[in-house]
Amino acid sequence: MSAPATTEAKPAAPTAAPAPPPPSDKIKIKVDGREIEVPKMMPDWQGKPQPTTMLQACQLAAHEVPHYCYHPKLPIAGNCRMCLVEFGTPQMGPDRKPVLNEDGTPKIAKSVLPYEPTTPRGAIACATPISPGMEIYPNSPATKQMREAVLESLLINHPLDCPICDQAGECKLQEYSVQHGQAESRFVEAKVHKPKAVDLGPRIVLDDERCVLCTRCIRFTKDIAGDDALGIVNRGSYNTIAAWAEGKFDNNYTLNTVDICPVGALTSKDFRFQMRVWFMKETKSLCTSCGTGCNIVVGSREEKVYRYEPRQNDAVNSTWMCDSGRLNYKWIGRADRLQKCGMRIAERGMLEVAWPTALKGISAKLASAPSSSVAIVASARQTTEELWLLSKLAKKFNALTDSVARNGEGDKLLVNADKNPNSNGARLTGISGPQLGANLAKIAEGIRSGSIRTLIVFGEDVTKHGIGADLLAKLDTLIVSDILPNATTAAAHFVLPGCAHVEKRGTFVNVKGRVQKFMKAVEAPGDARPEWEFLHELVHNVTGQNGFSTIEGLFNQMAHEVPGFAGLEWAKLGDTGVTVQI
């Protein structure tokens, strides 16, 4: 069902990203014999306009230049030499005018060694700016020879332990060796042995023998995470990445160094030896641990989630995510997940029932509920579509509604103090007011006074938020949907097993108003169903309104009816979302 996604791969215009560089002049150059016009200036790692580099120009010309140390979101280091390319510039005569060929085209002087004019002198594409008329030869024999030589040098002390290496399958050293390297090693000397399985920090293991010393990890932790913890010690062949105090590399962003490590030197303690990367299905999704809504890729196999990795979205999280969010997936596979619908019958207690029975029972109860006797507490962890469907129920019964505020600590980089992924979704759909949780006391009071006889709870344990078990016991009907059992599900008359976000599709609205969608990675356990599916049924039974039975249709209908989402369409959200006014 995610078919439209392929056509949406183009990132939407980032609104929160640094302003695009001012419209600058274009430069005409030739890449691999084909003329192309590229901007004179392009954004650097911080988004500031800088002279366009040969690597950026080659990318625009759809020529991939292999590289290890270059990363678009890190300062340029230029130390791996992998992006060396042969190039030439227009030859100048003594009169500083271009020398022309017989056919009138400018004569190109290829870059060569000063005293060895037959040997091409390459330049590192990542750090060399282009100039008008420049010709870049990314596929020339000389370029290929340079790549071969660099790879040979990088492999000298590499252990070639791919069969037991976690990076295998997503390793740039493997990929480039196949694409650009030699089939056999000429190295007959003894390899230098370096530290293995170094315990860098609580979540990171370092294998110094696999390292190619690109320094991406050093630059990331110094310039992005602001924790200057890593460095290179010793010299020459004995160079190794190290931390001053082993085991203490412990900021909340350390696992990003595993992502950007082009080889298997830095591995995640959580993921290593768990799953071969080529067996995993990758699903575009979102992190739900706070209101930032970092874009992620969920790696799963056979209905089990193995890892979260950040996915680039310059309007939200660049290419990073925090460690706490990344590792917050284990609860999805918990053994005590709610898997069956439950219905409480006075004399027989809680019975396991099928979905039709449960929904029929709930519909019957709601059909006889008088106006204003119903209240709804819906978590700001539910999707926007689910909250909107609940708001339809609320409208029907003139019900008091609210969500639960979840505040914690934020940081300067990504972590937000709002720990709900969809607080703005709750506000926009009218489930909560500007201040989440402001109505909870009123709902508790309503139950106490007896004016509220029916409570619908989605995804919260209300006993922890001022509506205790004593109050729940006063209700005629308590309808609860959740993922894991808690005190509220234990008190419910109807229990409806819901889905984790990786088990369904939907949208969240982040703290800055970015409406982003996420895809389904794994099947829900047992009878658990996406909440929007059965809510849609329930809304139909109770209000008589029919909606769409697909998430696309549901979203589009919601966008049509909710002013805050005016003009949005599921298909137009793309992979990186659209920002709405909050």
């Binding site: 230098v192 913890a229 460095g231 105090a245």
Partner: protein, 163 residues
């Protein structure tokens, strides 16, 4: 043994920092001074330097491990530097170093400088000592010894042991 930099040395170093546009630029001078005073650069000395210059210890440690003249451990009383560069290598300096190592019970396979457990000898392979005509050359503490033979090596070891 607690680490303490004497007040006058600290004052000297504080003054030194003012000579540089950035504090960080004084790193090498700090390390030289600390090695001069303590004989080697301990982990405490690295942390002290980092604290004084507003750096992370890893920044200072990178320098200490990069330059061979900085020692992370106390040196032996007899410091034997064997030249490893081309003419000495051709003249058998590799064998000479192995000879020293086996005489002193050190591991010739190890890369870094090594000190005997009794603290009497340090054997180190170094780059060119600028006396290529007299290869193989050894720098024994401050004295340059030309054309060192295994017999001379044994003498050096015997002398050092009696010190």
């Amino acid at each position: 043994m607690s680490f303490a930099v004497p007040a006058n040395l600290e004052a000297q170093l504080d003054e030194l920092v003012t000579h540089y546009p950035q504090k960080r630029s004084a790193s090498l001078m700090f390390l030289h001074a600390l090695q001069e005073h303590f004989g080697y650069i301990s982990r405490d000395a690295v942390e002290w330097t980092a604290r004084k210059l507003g750096l992370q210890p890893i920044n200072v440690f990178e320098l200490v491990t990069f330059y061979p003249m900085f020692r992370q451990e106390p040196l032996g009383k007899t410091h034997i530097k064997v030249c490893r560069t081309l003419s000495c290598a051709l003249a058998g300096s590799g064998e000479l170093r192995t000879h020293f190592c086996s005489k002193l019970g050190l591991d010739a396979q190890k890369h870094a400088p090594q000190t005997t457990p009794d603290g009497k000898f340090t054997v180190e392979f170094v780059e060119c000592l600028a006396d290529c005509g007299n290869a193989p050359v050894v720098l024994l503490n401050e004295d340059l010894l030309p054309k060192v033979t295994p017999a001379q090596a044994d003498e050096i070891v015997a002398k050092g042991k009696s010190k």
